[in-house]
Structure formats: structure tokens, C-alpha cells
Symmetry: D2
Subunit: 349 residues, 4 copies
Amino acid sequence: MNHSFASDNAAPLCPEALRALETANQGAAPSYGDDAVTERAVEAFKELFETDCAVYFVSTGTAANALALSAFCRSHHAIVCHEGAHLQTDECGAPEFFTGGAKLLLVGGAHGKLGPGAVEAVVRRRAGDVHFSKPAALSLTQSTEAGTVYTGEEVAALAEVCRAHGLRLHVDGARFANAVASLDVPPRTLTWEAGVDVLSFGGSKNGMGLSEAVVFFDRDLAKDFEYRRKQAGQLSSKMRFLSAPWPRMLLEGHWLRYARHANAAAARLALGLRGLPGVRVLHPIEANAVFLDLPEEVHEGLSRAWAYHPFEGSGHRFMCSWQTTDAEVQALVTDLGRLAGGEAAHHMR
Amino acid sequence: MNHSFASDNAAPLCPEALRALETANQGAAPSYGDDAVTERAVEAFKELFETDCAVYFVSTGTAANALALSAFCRSHHAIVCHEGAHLQTDECGAPEFFTGGAKLLLVGGAHGKLGPGAVEAVVRRRAGDVHFSKPAALSLTQSTEAGTVYTGEEVAALAEVCRAHGLRLHVDGARFANAVASLDVPPRTLTWEAGVDVLSFGGSKNGMGLSEAVVFFDRDLAKDFEYRRKQAGQLSSKMRFLSAPWPRMLLEGHWLRYARHANAAAARLALGLRGLPGVRVLHPIEANAVFLDLPEEVHEGLSRAWAYHPFEGSGHRFMCSWQTTDAEVQALVTDLGRLAGGEAAHHMR
Amino acid sequence: MNHSFASDNAAPLCPEALRALETANQGAAPSYGDDAVTERAVEAFKELFETDCAVYFVSTGTAANALALSAFCRSHHAIVCHEGAHLQTDECGAPEFFTGGAKLLLVGGAHGKLGPGAVEAVVRRRAGDVHFSKPAALSLTQSTEAGTVYTGEEVAALAEVCRAHGLRLHVDGARFANAVASLDVPPRTLTWEAGVDVLSFGGSKNGMGLSEAVVFFDRDLAKDFEYRRKQAGQLSSKMRFLSAPWPRMLLEGHWLRYARHANAAAARLALGLRGLPGVRVLHPIEANAVFLDLPEEVHEGLSRAWAYHPFEGSGHRFMCSWQTTDAEVQALVTDLGRLAGGEAAHHMR
Amino acid sequence: MNHSFASDNAAPLCPEALRALETANQGAAPSYGDDAVTERAVEAFKELFETDCAVYFVSTGTAANALALSAFCRSHHAIVCHEGAHLQTDECGAPEFFTGGAKLLLVGGAHGKLGPGAVEAVVRRRAGDVHFSKPAALSLTQSTEAGTVYTGEEVAALAEVCRAHGLRLHVDGARFANAVASLDVPPRTLTWEAGVDVLSFGGSKNGMGLSEAVVFFDRDLAKDFEYRRKQAGQLSSKMRFLSAPWPRMLLEGHWLRYARHANAAAARLALGLRGLPGVRVLHPIEANAVFLDLPEEVHEGLSRAWAYHPFEGSGHRFMCSWQTTDAEVQALVTDLGRLAGGEAAHHMR
């Protein structure tokens, strides 16, 4: 079974991340994040985002999202998000757990994206009614679970709704790198300049190991966050091993290079499938995911050799990573072409 | 500032653990723990403990303890532990958070150890009174925060109190390896044979990176634990990097070798301090920690060059690790000898 | 502004309930529920349900529902309920709070009712997937928020789905009396005989003051419930004032008499509206609620004199209580008739 | 068994409270606190305290305390209180539950009272250390669990420590009336003038039924409190029955009259015991409680006829209420005198 397209977290660490771990593995160092390696990593984020943000490393994306939201969402609050948001569909109630009982308010939207009108409608619906959880945050995913991206303008429009209604804006950036690579803008354009308060910046899907960064652009929200991280079991004693890869990845540009690579692989995959009978691309290819509607018999055959994920109502997902090779894309296209009885493979030559 | 004695988690990864990470870093693999490396790691625990236990890897000791306890402790429960337990003094309320509000019931005891009589007294005190949190767990630390160990008989005596009163027995084994090394018994003797229900087995302080294992000897307690781990943000997508070091460490014996090394360094340090005027060893040296009562001026001088931790009412802690060298021990002894005005260093020759 | 149709909890205590409070108000009595009055009230439930149930009094319906569910739902669980369930729409996240983060899984269904097929589908959807909250309970409302009722057979069919998938069955019976009155069956038929595990039996809407009863038909689920009630701030010191009305209400039949009265008022109201131009009854009238689709101008006029509640997508709700008089029904019908320009009032004569 | 001295919540409602309930029981009224009776009750508090406070009624003292604290204490916080505080000893972990995991930091102090030095010491001990819960509140009990009172100056001294360290000051005033009666000062003197941020004002022990008032003197802390009360199952639908007694009790002076009565009964009881062999009064009699150290055989005999509570390390508690009669005091003194073999009863004449 080939797992190359199962998820971008199926890939190993990229060489630069691994080297950074090895380099950091020298002698005794202060534990719990009071070390020089971690300090350097925090600085790298400030440089990348061109602002004085507060940065905290945690071990999973679920923890990054839920902890970040818990910084300002309490049990009586609601968190607005897309009905297909990872927050809702794949975190086993982590936002509810970390906040002690906040409710997710689900909003629909084509291709995994939220629009300001739909967000405002759900926020207004029960405004001021103490019988219903009070909206306190909007969380959007960038790039989205459907492989699409929000432009800076789109983020800003959502941020405006947030400001108007007293919500804070969180971005689940498990694949933030892919969005930046897709839009080719400075990271600040998609974050604090657009009104984002806090970002979960994913390391794992970008080629690192277990490290995710919670980046507060509004430092006031980070008050006591260190306590919350500790209490939630996310203050690693050997923190340098979570923080070490970041400076190299961010400042030498590997984060963006790899994201571009993954995005390009997805584009190439989609291109290879054009015209395949019965195979339909379900969402615009703007990042590193390709969602396909497959004829049942094609899926049956394909899933014997390739691991990929079915998404309720959204077909099957093929995810590219920093490591996806042209050969793998070609092999997948070939198999699909063969099973679909088409000549798709020819498109690639 | 030399951090070699600050904590055993100030040390880097041991070579075997690092090599295991590098070896595991090959190609795409199923994420979230469904990979062969993780399966092998789980098997390694079963082999080590000679029983069919349920094993889960998490990223910190705090998460290991709090999650393990939350498997069977709910908000209305109480968890009995030593007043100096890490659970109480250094986890920022993690047990309370993960259980949604359980109360820690603190018990005193010389040298960081709990006795069955004191435990039974606190359990009986409000038994059946709905106005007070109901004891549901006893958590002991092995080796203890004071650097001492419980024998298998001592654990069994505590387990008996647990059984008599409907409590489950948890062991915080952040330094479990040091206890096994100290007592030179099979791991089973200190765990399931003695009545332990669940163990937090520490990897970090034993020479690994971020990995801790939650080991349920009573598999019934592990029901739904996978959900709880996920919800708590502890299901790592690239799980193989948490699990990879364990098979090598456990099955090739490095875990025990390194623990013995750390214990021996502590013993050597204590030996070197014998007769130093004003310097008093506060607890028996049974594992890898040395607690010293230091004259104020000695502490003032020493703390300029060496990092170590003051413990309320327990003097200063010097902790040895898998990496502590004889030269470091000698250098610390020499400095202490010089500052204490004695000739302690001579004892070592 | 007339509040008679705003809600059945707008009504005062019925005379029998008030008399019971006065009678119980004699001399000193053991506090926290250890009194004879409370004992008698518990016995009254056993007699009514013809079974040995465990009964606990709390002060609100929200507490009754959320506490009952928290007895067996933990933070990683999901609770299946109707998308219009009070649990979801009007408890400000209480189920999430009391369980520490459980997720509500919403299911649609005509007229506020759940069907076994829809429930089974949502339970199966992510079965065994640790990335999503695990269904542990089904909660249905009886009579429903739409003023309809489940027959014993319908409850049993849902209970069968629960059994097949390891869920427990909770009934939000804030208006349980109205359902029993509507179906004219023994209470056991709609509860334990049909497979219900725990019932929130509403006193407030049935004519009592602040008292709701949590009734566990499966006594095993009630283990430790007394601790949970205390911790949740629901163990009243002067418990007799919560429990006193129940024996009179239940054993002298006032609960059922008043529920019949309220149901009859709703039926009469619906009858009076027949043929009113533009006024449409939205749900079958099976209990004490009438949901109307009103022309905007009718609503505008009517809401100047009468308090009633708009329900998203379900028109306007007019709720009858133990105290609703024929004159009030007639006055409302007359006003509606006048505003709708019809001759509806005539129907009543 | 006579329960008159078991607790002040063993007493029934006083006539004024009962009359107020009966008076409020007229016709339909808006539910959930939007009624005129509740509005009047809120105004009564503003008048009593001579300030614009925010007032919320809940059904138990445990809920009042825990909800009030949860308004500004989160899971990573600590709440400083006396080791004998009701919060710690008799609420089954409610503060931990409502805050999602805050830790109680226990401080000793003679006669149930906290001193500023001891409070400051515990707050400073781990200040700034993210490995330990961050103190965010001080909670003192007024009158205390030992039947003593804090003067306004004593409260102000504690408030100063709070201000210096960023803590908010909560008062558990389950017996606030008894403190005011004892010190004979305006209520403002013991609350906002002394720096109290929020008060749990007890109705139940003062002669009312189930009603406790949470009074925020710092209105900023009350932001969103209505949501939290609802989510916690404490927003009663028939709120008027919680609020109705307050205006009469507060504005007609019954609250103070009854508290004086209870205090006087305690004083009279203590006086009657003077010189009884082996019977020792353990705490100053400043409110309505008398704590006695009793010879074992006296306790054995006495407890056959009288209900009273043993307190760990504090002897036996005899609590007087609004209803305690001279005859009951005399009867208790007589029994004690007989059992202790002394002539104590004579002292009363």
C-alpha cells in the first residue's frame, strides 16, 4: 500500500528539519523552553511575520488549534467555523474539551470556504440571547480542508465581521505554508495585516516532525498562555526538539519551497486527470490537495494499491507533500487512467 | 552556566534514540499511530513487562499522568498523592484540568514516599460523604521526587489499600527506569505483579526525546483511551517519531544501562560530598537525585556556575542523567568543596 | 402584555404545589435531602413508574438534562439529539459544560421527532474513528419541542438502535406529563418498558416551582450521581422545598390532570384558528403547544398584546399551561381573528 | 432527634419569606428572570449596599461560590482560601468543576480566619512559575466556618494583598447577615468599601428557601455572567420564586433581625456552658455558631437526642438559626449539663 497521497503528514521529516534536530542535540540545555534554540525559533517567527508576535510550540495541530482558541474562548462561548473544518470533523471534540464546553457553530460554504455574509448571519441569529452560547471566535482554515485558499482580501472581509461583533479571528494554518505558496504574498498579508489575531502554524505537514506553532499577533490574548500550555500537557521538557527546525525552515526558505513543491504536485496530478471518463475534480486546485469524484469500480481498484481518504460528500482526497515525486504522481495517474479506462496518462507527457 | 545537574531532562537524546528517529524517517507511513514502527514499540512494552498491556505514546510526562488518571477519574473524584508529588507541585493543575475538576488529596511522608497507613487515613476520612470529592485513585511516583524508590512490597501494600477502598493505582514513572535500575528487579515486579493498574513510563528523562508511554496493565481502563488521547491533542500525526526509540531502548537494554549510569553518578556525587562542613544530604540516595542542604553562602557561590533547583523545604536538587560524566561530578564536588571550605574533593580520589 | 401563552413556565405554582410547600415548612429537618419529605417524594416516583428507580431533585431542567447525561457521557463522547432539541437550542452549552466537552450530534426530523433510521445513520457515520467524538447517548424530548409526542413503540424503536450501538437513552421530559396525558398510557410504557435509561421529569412546566426530577431506571447509571449533583451546585440544603410538591402532584393525580388541561387548551386554540386566512398550524397538536405560521402584519399586531415565541423556521409558538383558561384562549383567538381579517372566532361557538 | 442545632439550613423558611413567595404566585409572568419581582429584588440589593452592583440569583450556596469564582478564574488559576473553607471542605470540588480545573491553595489561620501575611506568603511562593497554578482569587468566608467574623479593616488588609498581586477578592457570605449583625456596620463597610469584588450573599441560612445572591461590586467581572449562570443550570425559569423574598427581607430589616436573633442564641448557649467540666468552647462566639470540645461520653449521650456536626480538629458544632428558641437553647444546655455532670444549667438563670 502506497501512503504517499494519504496525507501530507504521512511523509517523514525533510532533511533540513532532521539536520536541525541533530544539531540541537548537543549537551545539556535548560528545559521547558528556556533554551537558546527555542529563543532563536521564536525570533524567526517575528522576522517572518515582520511583527512582534508571541510564539508557542506545541506537539500537535489539534493542541495548537484548541489551545489557541481556549486563550479567549470559555465554556459559554461559541466558535464559528466551516462545517467541514478540521476543528469540527477531525479533532474529537478538542475545542470543546480545551474550552470546557464551548459550542462550534457550523457554517456552510462552497469549496470549504466561509463567506462574511454567512458568518454574520449565524452570529446575529441568537445575539444577546443567554440561552445560547455566545460567539467569541471565528476560525477559518488556510489553506482549507478542500484545498482552496482565502486571499488577503477575503480574510480581511471576515475579520471585519469579527470586529463588528466582538469575535476574535483564529486561523487553523496546518497548511498555512501552502496558502502562502499559492498566493505568493508575504505571510503578514494573510495574517495580522488582514486582521488575524492568532494563527496555528503547522510544521508537521510542512515537512517537520511534531512541531506546531501558536502565533499570537495580538499579544494581549497570549496573557497566561504559558500556564495554559503547561496545564494542557504541551510544555515539552526538551522543547528544543520542537523548536529546532523552525529557524532553518523559515529563514532559509525551505518552508515555502516545500509548500510550492507540494502545490505543484497537486496541480500536476489534476492536470494528469483531465478528461478521464467519470473522474471529476471537485474543488479548485489551489494548494496541495486534489478531491476527486471517482466511479465506484475505479475507487475499488485504486484503493487496493493506494491509500487516500474518502470525505463525506466530497469524494476522495489525494494529498501531496514536500516529498511527493513526479514519479509517484505519474504512477497514480497511470493507475487511475487504466482503471477509468481512459487515456489520461497521455496528458502528462 | 552548566545545566548538567539542573534536571535529567536537560540532557539531549542519547545516541540510540536519535539513531532510531533517523532510521524511522524513511518514506511515507500511515499517520496517527497506524504504522509499523509504532506497532513494534507497543510490542516492545509487552515483552518488557511480560504481559498483554495497552500502550499509548504521548509527548509529555504531564500529559501522560493527567490523561492516564482521567481514564478513570472524573470531576467528582479525588486523587491521593504525596504532597511533594510532581502531579501536585509541577503540573499547573493538569490532573484537575484533564479530569474536569478532580481534587488532589495530599498526604505527607518522609523522603517523598507514601505509606499505606497515611493513605488509608485520608481515604477513610470523608468516605461516603457526598460533600467531598470521592477518592478514586492513588498516584505514587517511582522513583520519587525525593530520589527514593518503593520496593515491590511497598507498592503491593499500597495496592492493597487501593483494592480495599475501590481506588485504582497509578504510577508516575517519569523515572521508572531509575527505580528498576536501583532495585534490580524485573519491571513486572514493580508494576502489575504488585497491583499497579497504569504506569506513566518516562522516556524523556531516560534519554529519549519527547516520548512518554501510558501503559495500562488493566486493559479495561484503556477503553476509549484512544479517543481521550486524540481529544487532548496528544495523538501525533507523525507518531512514529514518538514511538521509534522505544524498541531499541527497551529491548537492547539501553534504558536500564542509562538509568544505572545516572544512579551511579548520583551515588558518586553523594560520596564525594561526605564530610563537607555544612553540607547535608537530605534523602537516601536510591536513584539519580541528590538533595542537599547547603549553607547560604555556598549556594550563592555555587549557583553562579551551576544550574540546580531549590525545593521548598527540601534543599537543593542535583539531578544526574544518562549523560552525566565523572568529570562533571568531580567538577561539581570540587566547587562545592572549595565553597564549603572543606576537603571533600579528596574523598573522591 | 399577556404572558399566558409565552411559555408553560410563565405560570405560577398550582395550588397543590404551593400547599405542599407550606405544609413542609414546619420545624427543623435534616438538610441536603436526608429528610422525610424527600424520602416520600422519591417513593412517589417508584410508585408512579411501578419500578425501583433512583430519583434526584434539581432546580432547573437544564441542570436535570445536563447532569443526567453527564452521568455516563464524558468529554470524548457525542450525544445524539434532534437539531431542534432544547439541549441544543436553549441550554447555552450546558451538556457540553457538564460533560467537559461532549459534542451534540444533530439529527433532523419532521415535527421535532427523531426516527431510528436517521439516528442510526449518524451513529454509524464515524463509528470507530478516534478523530471524532464517540456517540454514547441518544436524547429525545417527550413531548417534543414541536408539541408532538413519541408513542411507546416509537421510543422502543429508538431504544433498539441505542442498544445495537452501545448508546444509552435519555428522555428530556420537561413536558413528560403532557406526553403521558396525550397518549393516555401508564408512565412505564413511555419509559423503562420502552428502554429508556434515564428521564428528566419536569415539575416546573407541570405546575410546580423549581423542581425537576432526574429518574434513573438503570440504577447502575446513578452510581456517584449524588457526588455529581453536589459538585454541580444542585444539592439544595433545604431540599424538602424541591421535593415537597411531588407526592401530592403524582399520587393525587394533579400532574396528569393539569397536563390534560394544558393539552386541551392547545387543542381548543388550534380548533379556534381553523380557516383563519393566512394562519397555518405547523405541527400536529399532540400536547400543549401550537405553532403557527402568521402573516407578518398579523404577528405585528398580535405581539403588541400577547407574548409568544418565534422559532427559527417553525413560526410562532403559543404554549398552554395548567392555568390557561378558556377565556384566554378565546381572547387570543378573537385577536387573531380580527387581525387576520377572518371569522375564526366564530368557530369556537 | 432534634435538628435545631444541626445547621442553620435545617430551619424552615421564615414567615416573611414564605409570604413573599405566596404573594409572588399570581398569574403569568415573564420567565428566566425578566419579571418585575426579580427586578425589584435586584434593586433591593443596590439599596442595601448603597451602590450600583450586578445581582444574580442562584439556587445553592455551592453554585453561588463556584459560579462567582468562575467569572474570573480559569482552569490554570489558583484560588486562595482557608484550609477550613466550605469551598474546600464541603463543596465536593465545585470550584474545580466550575472553573474547569482551578486549584485551591489552602492557608491555615486561627479560628477560621486568614491573615494578610499568610495569604501573601502563599501567593508569592510560586509567583511567575508556569509549572504551578497562578493565583487569581482570594476567597474568605464571612462569618467564617468557625463562627468568627472579619472586621472591615481586616477585610481591607486582605484586599490590599489582593490588589498588590493581581487577585480578585470573593466573599463566601453564606452567613453574611450574621457578620453584619455581629459587627453592627453598614453592609458596604464589609464589602465594596473594603475592596470586595464579589459576594455570595446567603439567603438560605438567613431564613429564606433556596435563594442565594451573587453580588458583583465590580460590574466588569459580571460580563457574560448571565451566560455562565444559564450554562451551569442555574437560570431558573420561575425565577420570581428565588427572588421574591429578598425585597421584604432586606428592606424591612428581617435579614438583620433574624441574624441578630441567631447570634444572640449562640451567645446565650455559650454562656450557659460556662464552667461545665470538660466542655471547652473552641472559637470566639462572634456569630451564630458554637464549637465545643466535648468529652467522649458526653458526646455519646448528647448525640442520641441532638443532631450536630463534628468538625475535624475543631470539635462539635452547634449552629443557631433564625428559629432557635430560648427553650431549645435551655434544653440543650440542660442536657449538656446533665451529661457533663456539672451545674451549668444554673448559669442561665
